[in-house]
């Protein structure tokens, strides 16, 4: 160790040439490449901390069993006839909970020194935010697949067949990814990871429970039914039910996609803006 000499290779650095060669903006292609590099980092991190997958593995298994046996009899008469109603609901719920983790983890990550370097590098400001979200697609896929597998184990026989189920999973992943921008934004504005968790819970609970995820809308009082009908999660749940149970691409799919588009269009720029301001 003592003989270590730390001297860079001899090669002259010329400032004027560098200034002339410098690019003034990040191109779309560069932004995409940088985002994928950041996604690689996030996947590495997941593989080194597998406990990050606890929630996406345990929640679908636990919640599917719990909700089916607790509410099945009361709502649909028996567990088996409740499954087609409930599984798409659990799908939406687990995917949303997974989104919430995105915000918390981003916040934790941002406190670390490495984010200083990300900020000092000539890279698109969106890349450090979007990268982990691309990696999170793995988490949504895991959560969604496990929800359906658990349903199948409990006797759920989706009428939409493999195509219908895959389409429902795909839609859920896409929605999860889009809604995650809300939580990413919360991650960039909140003071601590705990605060992110708290705020996210307040967004998450009304969104999932004030929807048609677990109960038919008809059983709700009018004022509540009105909110439930406009809740984007209800659209996702209905669309996923139509796809999984009947391989039916209903207008609900279009509404869901529209809601996703609006959320991304609003919250992605907001997130980048507040990330830039963040010290």
């Amino acid at each position: 160790m003592s003989s270590t000499t730390i001297a860079p290779a001899r090669q002259t650095v010329r400032a004027a040439e560098r200034v002339a060669a410098a690019r003034r903006h990040v191109s779309m292609g560069e932004t995409l490449a940088q985002t994928m590099t950041m996604a690689w980092r996030a996947v590495k991190k997941m593989r080194r901390n597998p406990e990050q997958f606890f929630d996406v593995v345990l929640q679908p298994i636990l919640f599917t069993a719990m909700f089916a046996y607790v509410f099945g009899g009361a709502i649909a008469g028996d567990v088996e006839s409740y499954l087609p109603l409930m599984i798409p609901g659990i799908l939406a719920q687990t995917v949303l909970t997974t989104c919430m983790v995105t915000g918390t983890q981003l916040r934790e990550d941002m406190e670390k020194g490495v984010f200083d370097r990300f900020k000092s590098l000539p890279i698109a400001r969106i890349a450090p935010l979007a990268g982990p979200m691309v990696a999170d697609l793995l988490r949504y896929a895991t959560a969604a697949t496990l929800t359906f597998s658990m349903g199948l184990l409990m006797g759920y026989r989706p009428g939409g067949g493999v195509t219908g189920v895959l389409a429902a999973i795909l839609l859920a992943i896409l929605t999860g990814w889009s809604l995650a921008w809300i939580f990413t934004w919360v991650g960039t504005i909140a003071k601590s990871a705990q605060a992110v968790q708290g705020i996210s819970m307040m967004i998450l609970f009304p969104l999932t429970f004030l929807s048609n995820a677990f109960v038919p809308v008809g059983t709700l009082p009018g004022w509540l039914a009105a909110f439930v009908r406009v809740n984007p999660v209800s659209h996702l749940v209905t669309a996923a039910r139509d796809l999984a149970n009947g391989a039916l691409v209903s207008t609900e799919v279009a509404w869901t996609l529209l809601a996703c588009l609006v959320v991304v269009a609003v919250f992605a720029p907001l997130s980048v803006r507040s990330y830039k301001r963040h010290i």
């Binding site: 860079p8 400032a15 200034v19 690689w40 370097r117 890279i123």
Partner: protein, 328 residues
């Protein structure tokens, strides 16, 4: 070996930089002029505004007032260009804890558009240069503070930026690692880089820097070469504790007569610090004090500490913006 042509654009030109956090003005109107190819030291105690100044120049913090240019490029207007010209090594190693050393270097290379195969070669080269081959495939949890610093600096050099910011590069390092870091920094300049570093250590600034700005409470209190600063402070300091605090004015009179300059009064009662350009002038002062009948309870001769630099530089005038040049 070629060195960047002198006399072209200055590496850094900052005028009246201000950063306020609420009521507190962390940086309160700092001017800097760093010439291409030099090591410029920003010297100051904790909380003086060194790091904040560096972070503003590195586009990590918005500039509240004033302006800054790096190689003639405006920092506020063209942050993306600035980020291509400056490598930043922070006070706390800004590398990824979850990745190995090799993965860190690969990641930062890829982010800057270097193709994967070349990124691997660059990582290998830097790991070798910084003595990190053996630990290359360990995650940073197993790294010592010195190894992290080296990796951090290596990560700043991937694209061989012409200007490198080092924020307290040796704080917390053991003497040997410190010496290695100094050699590395000198090596960078030999390659034509410009280095702007902050430090709390006078000897570090003295060893490395071609020129030094002394910063205190968000303002520049002095600027000059290490020699110029030392002349202002004296090569060594005679520290006197008088038996009778009441005799301070008499002692000041004696010192002025012998050396032609005023001693610095310490906040402690009856204590004086006398800047000496030669250590053996201490004897002259002591003999003159004896002759004048001023009794002394303790005496020591020491190298000037950073405290004394500050006392000397801020003590002469109430105006914070004192230049060494004006002092002489």
């Amino acid at each position: 070996m070629n060195i960047t042509e002198p006399g072209t654009e200055p590496a850094v030109r900052a005028e009246g930089l201000v950063k306020a956090f609420g009521e507190h003005r962390a940086v309160d109107g700092i001017d800097l002029d760093v010439r291409a190819g030099e090591i410029f030291g920003v010297l100051g105690p904790n909380g003086a505004g060194k790091t904040t100044t560096l972070r503003m120049l590195a586009t990590l913090l918005p500039i509240d007032a004033g302006r800054a240019e790096i190689f003639g490029v405006d920092v506020a207007a063209d942050p993306h260009v600035i980020r291509q010209l400056v490598g930043v090594t922070g006070q706390y190693a800004s590398v990824d804890e979850n990745l190995t050393a090799r993965e860190n270097l690969w990641l930062f290379s890829r982010l800057q558009g270097i193709p994967s195969a070349r990124a691997k070669r660059i990582a290998d080269r830097l790991l070798g240069q910084f003595g990190l081959e053996e630990a290359a495939d360990k995650t940073l949890a197993h790294f010592s503070g010195g190894m992290r610093r080296r990796l951090d600096l290596a990560a700043s050099l991937i694209t061989r930026p012409p200007l490198i910011f080092l924020d307290e590069p040796t704080t917390g390092l053991d003497p040997r690692t410190r010496g290695q870091m100094w050699d590395t920094i000198r090596g960078l300049v030999a390659d034509g880089c410009t280095v702007l570093l902050t430090t709390q250590y006078l000897d570090e600034a003295d060893q490395l820097a071609d020129r030094i700005a002394v910063i205190d409470r968000g303002r520049k209190v002095a600027e000059g070469t290490p020699d110029e600063l030392k002349t202002a402070v004296g090569d060594s300091t005679l520290q006197l504790l008088l038996a009778e605090p009441g005799e301070v004015p008499a002692a000041v009179e004696v010192v002025r007569r012998v050396l032609g300059s005023d001693p610095v009064l310490s906040p402690e009662q009856g204590r004086l610090n006398v800047a000496l350009d030669q250590a053996d002038r201490a004897a002259d002062v002591l003999i003159a004090l004896r002759t004048a009948g001023v009794s002394i309870s303790s005496v020591s001769v020491a190298k000037p500490s950073l405290d004394e630099v500050f006392l000397a530089l801020t003590g002469h005038e109430t105006d914070d913006r004192t230049d060494v040049e004006e002092n002489r």
